[in-house]
């Protein structure tokens, strides 16, 4: 057993690390869904944009300046998207808002395509985070070790924010009942803006961690992590933050175990990487059929 673990350690390590990165993205999905009942299709692309912003900023600025600037710009992007594309549709049917989200995703990807010229941009090697370390014979980067701890710390902070501050209480109220909370004097537009900003901030942190491992950014590199993070959010029960985090870790680990299928299960073949993507969706469909509300979700009642 120990031998087996030792041999495939790199897969487990990267699974945990990718899981942490998905968790940070998934929180953005689950919070927005909890409040607006909207799948923010553009969230994965915000994540990708954060990566591109980092590429462009770090080419002329030192890291100490560019990293905070990336966080600020991404938060701004999230704020602007909500303001321009979702707020005017607040009273429109849910389908129009979803179409608007798909439109934003399309816009961001095409904008990225234009500005990058369709080329993969090389992500800068962040000091310390991209150094290699050797753990029990497996070579990996510092970022792999840091990710789960950073994720855990951010989740704890977020939970504190939601449980113990005034804005957190407002968020909980709005996600419980949109209209009543408005009557109680909560400025929902402000709450929604702040939700999007928190989601984008976490996506920016995730992009710093994720692209350090993958080394290049393309206009479509946000869509897959975005979809997987969404699946994680659904698995955990959409609207629940701990659920999203647990779901993301499970998906990240499973996905990497499948990627290492040829050595873990002993079945040779080159299709394993393809299947790790397919697995996520197969998993999603199984969850949706067996337990549509997810691990920690609340049961929705259909009122006539």
């Amino acid at each position: 057993m120990a031998d087996f673990l030792h041999q495939n350690l790199s897969y487990f390590l990267s699974g945990i690390s990718v899981g942490g990165q998905y968790a940070l993205i998934a929180i953005g999905y689950t919070m927005v869904y909890g409040i607006l009942r909207l799948i923010n299709f553009a969230h994965g692309d915000v994540f990708m944009c954060a990566g591109l912003i980092m590429v462009y900023l770090s080419s002329s600025l030192p890291f100490a300046v560019s990293v905070p600037l990336v966080l600020i710009f991404t938060v701004l992007l999230g704020f602007i998207i909500e303001r321009v594309a979702y707020r005017p549709l607040r009273s429109a049917p849910r389908m129009s808002v979803m179409i608007s989200a798909i439109g934003v995703s399309y816009l961001l990807q095409n904008a990225a395509l234009y500005f990058t010229g369709g080329l993969a941009k090389v992500y800068p090697a962040l000091p310390w985070l991209s150094d290699s370390v050797v753990i029990w014979g497996a070579t990996t980067r510092v970022v792999t070790i840091v990710t789960p701890f950073l994720t855990a710390a951010l989740v704890v902070l977020l939970t504190l924010l939601i449980k113990h501050t005034k804005i957190g209480m407002a968020m909980r109220a709005v996600s419980r009942d949109f209209e009543t909370s408005q009557l109680m004097g909560i400025r929902i537009n402000r709450v929604i803006s702040i939700t999007f900003m928190i989601g984008s901030l976490l996506a920016a942190v995730a992009s710093l961690l994720y692209f350090t491992n993958y080394a290049s950014v393309t206009p479509t590199s946000g869509s897959m992590p975005g979809l997987k993070a969404f699946v994680a959010a659904v698995f955990g029960g959409i609207g629940s933050i701990p659920g999203a985090v647990i779901g993301a870790f499970i998906i990240g680990i499973c996905e990497n175990i499948i990627k290492g299928g040829s050595s873990i299960f002993g079945i040779p073949g080159s299709g394993w990487t393809t299947f790790s993507d397919a697995f996520t969706f197969a998993f999603l469909i199984i969850i949706l059929i067996v337990k549509p509300t997810g691990l920690f979700g609340e049961k929705a009642v259909d009122k006539v």
């Binding site: 009942r37 909207l38 799948i39 321009v84 594309a85 005017p88 549709l89 429109a92 849910r94 389908m95 129009s96 979803m98 179409i99 608007s100 798909i102 439109g103 934003v104 995703s105 399309y106 816009l107 990807q109 095409n110 904008a111 395509l113 234009y114 010229g117 369709g118 479509t220 869509s223 979809l227 969404f230 699946v231 659904v234 073949g269 080159s270 299709g271 393809t274 299947f275 993507d277 397919a278 996520t280 969706f281 197969a282 999603l284 469909i285 949706l288 059929i289 549509p292 259909d302 006539v304």
Partner: protein, 370 residues
């Protein structure tokens, strides 16, 4: 049938006949490489898939995002069915695999098979997925489309799908001949005939009692169920039929492009089709068709200058470089989604009365401004 209705039908038939005649004339007068043909063919193919998506999203109220997956199924079925055996046995296409399909068929059977395969998979996928509602359904269908794309690139299926490599040398549009002869069929006319028949079938379906049941489900599921409509059966029916036509349009797309590769059928493609449906108006067949032709004409022809450095006589190679066209395009789409959410047609259909009214309206406005 009363007289007004009969006159109306006659007028529609004349209008359609004029369109087909015009295409036939164009095909014999213009050079076959003319950009107009590209726009007409691709526009027609996108009309079909947009209408099939509209049947689901606009008429049955099922927000499904699996269209690219069913197009992929159709395109591959068509390519594998119509590729001549001699090509399959040679090394030209199946370079790394031994092809296991030992027969080939004509284009017509290829098209039908494409639709049937897509419909069969839709039937299987629909069994679990259609029990889900709105956004869950959207994500699940999107997920299935991605799984299909992954499976088609899997190397174990290589003897069937050629793995991640592309398929070619099947019956593309230039190789389609009149039945039992070697005379080439006018390619654009062929696309228009197939698309025309398919859209006609969809229109007939929508106007039938099934179509009314679909609309009832869209408007209020609970009420529809209370009126005795079997929800699941009708949803499944709509899903299977929509996928059948998506498969046919995938096959046409394969015939149009000369090559097929699974890589092309990404979720981005489904988004594009959805946006076409929205631009045309959710719940309007003619809207979807108009929007498809507009979309293709804009992206393939009229806005080309935005990518080439010169647009409307303005030279700005730094600004108008590759990709600018799509950026402008997506901004236009966002404006339509945000401010003109009804699209071009809303949920109305194009008719002579409306066109007359429109022309009169313009005339009246001019009169006022004088």
């Amino acid at each position: 049938m009363d007289r007004a209705k009969r006159n109306h039908l006659i007028r529609i038939f004349i209008a359609i006949a004029v369109v087909y005649l015009a295409i036939l004339v164009l095909e014999f007068t213009l050079r076959p490489t003319n950009i107009l043909f590209t726009v007409l063919r691709k526009g027609a193919i996108y009309s079909l898939v947009a209408v099939s998506m509209n049947l689901l999203n606009g008429f049955t109220g099922l927000f499904s995002l699996g269209q690219a997956g069913f197009m992929l199924l159709g395109a591959y079925t068509y390519a594998i069915f119509t590729m001549p055996v001699s090509v399959k046995e040679s090394e030209r296409v199946y370079k790394y695999y031994e092809c296991i399909v030992g027969f080939d068929t004509g284009a017509f059977i290829g098209l039908i098979a494409a639709g049937l395969v897509a419909a069969f998979f839709a039937f299987l996928i629909g069994l679990p997925v259609l029990r889900l509602k709105s956004d869950y359904l959207a994500i699940a269908t999107l997920g299935f489309a991605e799984i299909l794309r992954a499976i088609f690139q899997w190397d174990v299926l290589g003897p069937l799908t050629n793995g991640a490599n592309l398929l070619r040398e099947y019956k593309d549009l230039t190789r389609i001949t009149l039945p039992f002869t070697d005379i080439p069929f006018p390619p654009t006319l062929f696309v228009f005939i197939v698309v025309g028949i398919c859209i006609l079938l969809i229109v007939l379906l929508i106007n039938s009692s099934y179509g009314r049941a679909f609309k009832a489900i869209r408007d209020d599921e609970t009420a529809a169920e209370a009126m005795g409509i079997n929800l699941f059966r009708h949803k499944e029916l709509s899903f299977v039929i929509s996928s059948f036509f998506a498969g046919v349009s995938g096959a046409l797309l394969a015939a149009f492009q000369y090559t097929v590769q699974a890589q092309q059928f990404k979720s981005m493609m489904t988004y594009e089709i959805l946006l076409i449906v929205v631009i045309g108006g959710i719940g309007s067949i003619s809207g979807s068709c108009i929007a498809s032709f507009l979309y293709i004409a804009l992206s393939e022809w009229w806005l080309r200058g935005l990518d080439m450095g010169r647009f409307l006589g303005i030279d700005a190679p730094d600004l108008f470089r590759s990709g600018f066209r799509r950026l402008v395009f997506s901004v236009i789409i966002m404006i339509i989604v945000l401010f003109f959410s009804k699209g071009i047609m809303g949920d109305k259909e194009l008719s002579f009365e409306r066109m007359k009214g429109f022309v009169k309206g313009i005339g009246r406005k001019k009169g006022v401004s004088k």
